[in-house]
């Protein structure tokens, strides 16, 4: 057991640290200070530029092979990078679905041509990706999905609908799961396609969330043509490919979420120091101290459990179902954090953007509301518990 960095890792850390210090936009850290940790549509353009800057500096795709636009480094460097991003409260990566899910899956399952075509443009943010999994009638029971892809000549024709599709209105590509063999067992007739969002017949309709923002969408497919060459991982093999994506997603979450939780926690502590309770700073209140300390502990525990997973990866093991535990834990911690932010504001928590009385311009109200999605997106907490129960603990299926 050893948490110390090697001299090479130390110099990498210093390189990241000084680059961030030099390049971090000043006004961004002011916005992050108050803990709003999910990018809102109004900052997409800014984030596109920021990711490009990170890419040009060589800080995107650290663990991806050099041949496909990455740096060919280990998860250790990735962890160091993420930690520095948290400490500097740097902006999040806009193309996160590409970096966290689509890219690793293409690198794992793609043809040489696909691997040369797609990953590099994900890193540079030239092409944004969204995820076409959920449908109006298929959420947690994803394998029941109904969107069809039928073979016509050398391409497939897609018809159907996806929903809760984050960032689809900005996306150039979609990871699409569609049914290619309706007669087969429900897990066996699904194929994973790389779908060009600019194809004729793709219709994106923004969906307003309870936050008031339209961060996600409905996506309709009306006879959309997809070339056969855009199948990833083989015909009718989409379930296995899609599940790999999800494992990478939860792994990426392990890194990314820990960073976001730390940034949000620092914002919360700052808020607590500025808030008053019974005429004194809220941080002097025994109950508030207990709650803050518990969040602090949970954030560090989360980091340690993540570091244990990284140790396994460094030894060459693949990300496994354990990643579900990390997702679950983050969700619970982050929602509790946002609740505490409301509690600290007391009656002021009722005031939102636009009021001169609103705390920190009303940003907490947004992040509080947004946090309700955490336990639904990327697999509900209930599904994560099924995965842990069945695939980690070996309990029988219901």
């Amino acid at each position: 057991m050893d948490f110390a960095l090697t001299p090479e890792q130390t110099s990498f850390r210093d390189e990241v640290r000084s680059w961030l210090a030099k390049n971090l936009p000043k006004d961004w850290s002011d916005r992050m200070r108050v803990g709003s940790d999910v990018p809102r549509p109004e900052v997409y353009d800014f984030l596109r530029g920021w990711q490009r800057k990170m890419y040009d500096a060589g800080f995107m795709g650290l663990t991806w092979p050099k041949d496909y636009g990455g740096r060919g480094l280990t998860f250790m460097e990735e962890m160091i990078l993420q930690e520095q991003i948290a400490l500097a409260k740097a902006p999040p990566v806009l193309n996160i679905l590409a970096i966290g899910m689509a890219g690793p899956t293409i690198i794992a399952y793609g043809t040489e041509e696909q691997k040369r075509r797609y990953p590099a443009k994900m890193l540079s943010c030239e092409e944004i990706w969204c995820q076409g999994y959920s449908e109006p009638n298929s959420g947690s029971d994803l394998a029941s999905l109904q969107t069809r892809a039928e073979k016509v000549g050398d391409h497939y024709v897609v018809n159907g609908q996806k929903v809760w599709t984050s960032i689809a209105h900005e996306a150039d590509w979609m990871m699409l799961l569609a049914r290619t063999d309706p007669k087969a067992d429900k897990h066996k007739g699904i194929t994973y396609f790389l779908l060009d969002m600019h194809s004729p017949g793709v219709i994106v309709k923004p969906l307003r969330q309870l936050t008031g923002d339209a961060e996600f969408n409905e996506v309709y497919f009306d006879n959309v043509k997809v070339p056969e060459a855009n199948i990833l991982g083989g015909l009718n093999n989409g379930w296995a490919v899609g599940m790999t994506t999800l494992m990478y997603e939860r792994l990426a979450l392990g890194f990314g979420l820990q960073v976001r939780l730390r940034i949000a926690l620092d914002g919360l502590v700052d808020l607590a120091k500025r808030s008053k309770k019974n005429g004194a700073p809220a941080t002097q209140d025994a109950t508030v101290r207990q709650k803050l300390a518990q969040l602090w502990i949970d954030t560090e525990v989360f980091k340690c459990t993540g570091a244990r997973a990284v140790t396994k990866l460094l030894k060459g093991e693949l990300p496994g179902p354990e990643a579900s535990a990390g997702k679950m834990m983050w969700v619970e911690g982050h929602q509790r954090l946002q609740e505490l932010a409301m509690e600290l504001q007391g009656p002021y928590s009722q005031l939102g953007r636009g009021s001169q009385w609103a705390v920190d311009g009303g940003v907490w109200q947004y992040s509080y509301l947004r946090s309700r999605a955490n336990s639904i997106e990327g697999g509900t907490t209930e599904i994560q518990k099924n995965i842990i129960g069945e695939r980690v603990l070996g309990l029988p299926k219901g």
């Binding site: 057991m1 570091a307 209930e382």
Partner: protein, 379 residues
Amino acid sequence: MNFGFNEEQELLRSTARKFFDNECASEIVRKLMDGPEGMTPDLWKKIAEQGWTGLIFPDEHGGMGLGFVDLVVLMEEMGRAVVPGPFFSTVLLGGLAIREAGTDAQKKAWLPKISSGDARATLAWMEPSAELGARGITLQATAKGGGFTLNGTKLFVQDAHTADVIVVAARTGSGQSPQEGISLFLVPKGTPGMSVTLLPTMDQTRKLCEVGLKDVVLGAEALMGQAGSGWTPLARVIDRATVALCAEMCGGAQKVLEMTVEYAKIRQAFGRPIGSYQGVKHKAADMLVDVENSKSITYYAAWAMDEGVPEGPLAVSMAKAYVSDAYRRVAGAGIQLHGGIGFTWEHDLHLYFKRAKGSEFTFGDATWHRERVAQLVNL
């Protein structure tokens, strides 16, 4: 970075697992906990022969010279088997206090005997006030004729009734802060004026005593280190013992999880295994998260102790706060998911449930450690 155990540590784990499976199965635990000593001379000898009583003591004093990351492995296995007896008090309390605070002569006199299993030790620091901080130490040690006279009562002293020597924390003076003026003394068994009373405990595998000191006269050689500066080493001992306790708790929680999952796979209700119901499955998933997180933070704290990093005390308090809550939750859920059988004396779950509760309040509960975390991170 490497957040895993090496081959020797894995070997220690499998050796210890086999040892306690053979030598300290639950029927043995039950026999031991019924007796006043919680241990047989035979089992104690076997434990010592493994070298474990000397695991953390230096080679020169007959130990193995290993660290807390190594110790954590052994403690997890001991917690898994709910091993009763004076191992914890001898090694992690009395022995460690002598290692941290003793003079060369005191170390030479006691550590080889502790390492070989020929002597048992413990630490008496808490008092009826149940205060964990330095302020709680009020037992008076008055300087007299080159020696000291001790008067007062110590409580919650582990295994004092079987200890050959007790390290007693006393007040020899006062200063600007409660940390000043605390001294540690070595008080051998049978010292005139010292009385030891075994107390009935909820967790019968852990023996606690009251130690009364009435006009106990000690020579200068009983003083450990400098008079008045005992708090610093004492705090180091308590932090380290806390990490060892957390590891023991992790091992117990892991075992409860395993018992519960096995039961949920075979126990049928409404025609299918109860583990197939989400009401059971989801609770088991929560237990797994508690167990894995407990291990993560405990391993980190153990590493922090070995490396002596500045954030060591913070790591200890984060671990104890987390693990105290987690083990209690896991042990409670274990009983719940077993149903009626889990509430019987016959089933082993109560041994873990009681150990969880006792451990929760040993060296500070979650609330106490959360406040310490708040202070250490400058809230």
